[in-house]
Symmetry: C2
Subunit: 199 residues, 2 copies
């Protein structure tokens, strides 16, 4: 992480969904590598700094232990099956609230928003999640204005994305918001993101 | 890897591009998890089984050492800056040719096709790569029919994708080809791949 750069931290945990984390990581990594003048960096972190295994079996070693992480400007919270125990873990939800208190921008991907909801961070706010978890999101906090059929919802200090691949769209939006639309367009071109789903 | 399943192996190496590998990994991982009846599995492998670091700094631990890997049905070769030393490494190119001789389907993402070209595997064939490497691809083997402005090129036993995010489109195509369009549509829905680049 370059000294002085503003910091995006992607939180990793066991059973995180791989593309939820690596899609935004690629966007932010390409941004920091190719447009260093924008002054942003990206890192990954997990409790204890230990290797984590994704929901589809991929083993990642985080850059940092959460306990040693510097102050962040953006926290990205991915989804995955591993969110289910976390959203019922009061000590973890207290950590999420402590991050909310110190990190200016908290962004979730997929079912990461379930944890934000369980921590009370989405009360009375618009938010989204993976299409199969929309009802779960509403049940965790009926005051949430659950948005369907959107790729992400930007509610200022909180941004939530829809399922898995939607994290890429959200990350490009954040590049534009944190730097400029031109930077986002350059990053999009670098990762050749002109998607054309064949099915 | 379930016994009896057909095997997709994603080759990892230092300075591979993260999304080149993890995009297809997510597609194939969602496929094998949610549609086990199709009978496919996905794994990652690197020489020596050692941890590798991606071009944007992510540390992954492969499931298998290349030396211990079972026979594959599909080999996926991602791109990234790490392809540049590999395409000039004759011992590595010999390994790539040996894989070609035993693996029915070889698929590259992004600049992975440069290595296939250097190994002579794309001679006289249509192929693509990252937009910034199209000329490099042509220079490695002028007999290649270099395709521009496509997401991927399916030439039977060899499939090449364009840059970075194009691996997701290619992987969905392979699900349809190896199983059925309906399976590809289901996987697309699971990863909520309805991309809408905001810039």
């Amino acid at each position: 992480m370059p000294a002085g750069a503003r910091r995006i931290g992607i939180f990793l945990f066991d059973q995180f969904e791989e593309l939820d984390a690596v899609g935004p990581y690629e966007v932010f990594g390409a941004w920091s590598t190719h447009l260093p003048e924008d002054g942003w960096s990206v890192t990954t972190m997990a409790f204890g700094g230990d290797e984590v295994r994704g929901a589809k079996g991929l083993a990642l070693r985080p850059h940092l232990a959460v306990e040693d992480a510097p102050e962040l400007d953006v926290l990205v919270y991915p989804g995955g099956q591993g969110t289910r125990p976390l959203l019922a873990d009061e000590a973890h939800l207290e950590w999420v609230r402590s991050m909310r208190a110190t990190v200016p921008l908290v962004a979730s991907v997929c079912t990461g928003s379930l944890v934000l909801a369980a921590a009370g961070l989405l009360s009375g706010r618009p938010a989204t999640t993976h299409w199969a978890s929309l009802e779960h999101l509403a049940s965790l906090d009926p005051s949430i204005d659950v948005r369907r059929d959107v790729r992400f919802v930007d509610d200022g200090d909180t941004v939530t994305a829809a399922g898995v691949s939607a994290g890429i769209d959200m990350a490009l939006h954040l590049v534009a918001r944190l730097a400029s639309p031109d930077s986002a367009r350059q990053v999009r071109r670098i990762i050749q993101y002109d998607p054309a789903p064949p099915f």
